[in-house]
């Protein structure tokens, strides 16, 4: 046979074979083993922020300032020279208006002489006293 005819006779066939079902099995195996692409990985779901989540930092900040203000006010009231007036303290006012309390705790601390001196200084006249009332 002429060598030129050999290529025609072989007719583009290589004579190579593959195991039965090789390509189906290869395609299946290959498709199963393809690694996961970056874009195929699950992305974390970002939930929309609620109204409370939005205002929460400001509420917390306001609460913190309120707390600091209350704390400073408490320290201020505990001070000896507190500017808080006595007449606004109901407990103190009722104690002063109570004669028994006043006599027991306040009067004994003042001497009788000082009281008379003060009365005379203010123009007190003992003759003006209604003695009958005393008796």
């Amino acid at each position: 046979m002429k060598s030129q005819d050999i290529l025609s006779e072989i007719n583009h066939q290589s004579g190579m074979t593959v195991p039965d079902g090789f390509f189906d099995e290869f395609n299946k195996r290959m498709a199963e083993n393809l690694p996961v692409q970056e874009w195929e990985k699950e992305q974390p779901v970002i939930m929309p922020r609620t109204f409370w989540q939005k205002v929460r930092p400001y509420v917390y900040m306001a609460a913190m300032f309120m707390g600091i203000w209350c704390m400073m006010k408490s320290f201020d009231m505990m001070r000896g020279d507190s500017p808080l007036p006595i007449e606004k303290n109901d407990q103190l006012v009722s104690a002063i208006n109570n004669d028994a309390f006043f006599n027991d705790y306040f009067v004994p601390a003042v001497s009788e002489t000082d009281i008379y001196d003060e009365l005379y200084d203010e123009g007190f006249d003992p003759s003006m006293l209604d003695t009958t009332e005393i008796d």
């Binding site: 050999i6 290529l7 393809l34 690694p35 692409q37």
Partner: protein, 188 residues
């Protein structure tokens, strides 16, 4: 080898699906179905061994899958895949030659050994002799002859894959045919 207008149309639809991240994996499954067989034969004719071909084909598709984002669709899908397959085959042959301490001039004997050891053949002696004759050719001529003779690929597509002018490819094929004829003449 898919090369008709229908195939080009299908290719462009396939490329569209490959570029869409939602359909990419499914589309790549279709790429496997369409191209695994032609690429297998291309690689097998270069390395002359079924098991090695299986490994190289896997590497080819793995590389294609990992760089699918870089494939812009400017070139044909088949051209891109053939380029990867041929590069993988050449790298494999170079590594095998280095491993076995074989010079580039003795690559033919390495390939002939592989042909003789190949068990997946139809037993036709003439076809076996042609494979041996092709193995005697230089690497580029071997590639050109395989693509033209077995795959009946157009010179234009071969030019895109191999980056060689059509004229040079025609000359290379003509030279390869002459050498093969000479090989058979010497057998007689």
């Amino acid at each position: 080898m898919p090369s008709t207008n229908d195939q080009n149309f299908n290719d462009s639809k396939l490329i569209e699906r490959l570029r869409d991240k939602k359909t990419c994996r499914e589309a790549f499954g279709d790429v496997l179905k369409i191209y695994s067989e032609p690429l297998y034969w291309q690689i097998r004719r270069m390395v002359e061994n079924h098991d090695d071909t299986n490994d190289i084909l896997q590497n080819t598709f793995m590389k294609a899958w990992s760089s699918i984002e870089q494939f812009r669709g400017d070139a044909k899908l088949s051209t891109w895949l053939y380029k990867i397959a041929i590069n993988e085959s050449i790298t494999f042959l170079n590594n095998k030659r280095k491993r076995n301490n074989i010079s580039i001039d003795d690559e033919s004997s390495m390939l002939i050994n592989s042909i003789e050891a190949d068990t997946y053949i139809d037993g036709d002696e003439l076809k076996l002799q042609l494979r041996k004759a092709i193995a005697m050719l230089p690497e580029k001529q071997r590639l050109v002859f395989n693509m033209r003779y077995y795959d009946e690929m157009k010179y234009e597509q071969m030019s895109e894959i191999l980056g060689t002018s059509v004229g040079a490819l025609k000359a290379s094929y003509h030279l390869a045919v002459k050498k093969i004829e000479q090989y058979f003449d010497n057998l007689d």
